[in-house]
Amino acid sequence: MDAVAEQLWSHPRLREIYPEFLFQNHSVIRCSVPLMKAAAERCEKMLADEPVAEGMLTYFRKHIPEETGHDEWVLDDLETLGYKRADILRRIPSPSAAALAGAQYYWIRHVHPVALLGFIAVLEGTPPDVEFFEQTADRIGVPRRAFSNLLLHGKLDPQHRDDLDRTLDALPLTEEHHTLMGISAFQTVALLTRVASEALQ
């Protein structure tokens, strides 16, 4: 994933590729809040029998309002670049983005919602560097306003990453939970890499 990240952000035609990257980005994070809601619903049903359910439910109930609307930031960035929201929302996302979200729905509904914490750990684990993306916007001649999603996450995600770490430390996780979170995290890395690579094609 690091290699694709480097290839993307140092690409000589990044200015042309960036809108496509934003579309791929939106395809993934439009599912963030719905996935957390699905996981929270499962946790509610598991409260009587599953010791980790209560702590997870507390985490999701706090994090859902924090993440609500973040997909709109990406649409804002595309609008800044001249793309219409309605056109973006009408376009069919890639199968890779669908697979990334679909896998999480599978784990949440048919195995255990703790898998989603592995997904979140990947997506919030390396917050964007604000200075780097401000410089990138300037370098490719794009208004910084069109990087609002990355710049805002650069400021917010360090706190979100710490919140997740504290939640994970406090949960009575079993070895099976850790295994599932690991599988979910590595699957997320693989599919996220594929989604981002598609912006380069």
């Binding site: 480097e6 993307l8 993934v28 390396t126 780097f132 996450h153």
Partner: protein, 73 residues
Amino acid sequence: MANYDTLVAAGIIDKSNPPSQSDINTINGLNSGDVQGLINVFSAVGTTFLARNCDGAGGSVVPNPSRTIGIVF
């Protein structure tokens, strides 16, 4: 001739200490005006000046310190 080979021939890139493949791709993606501009700058001020005063001299893009792919939650 690829830009990379041009800059090697001009003595700007040391073939025994090549840049990363990502940097080579970036170099080869430059237009001819940029390449000539690089050669002109190196000819005018020399590599010592650039090494002392230019951040990232020897590389073409500041690496992403957070390594984020940019698809963030």
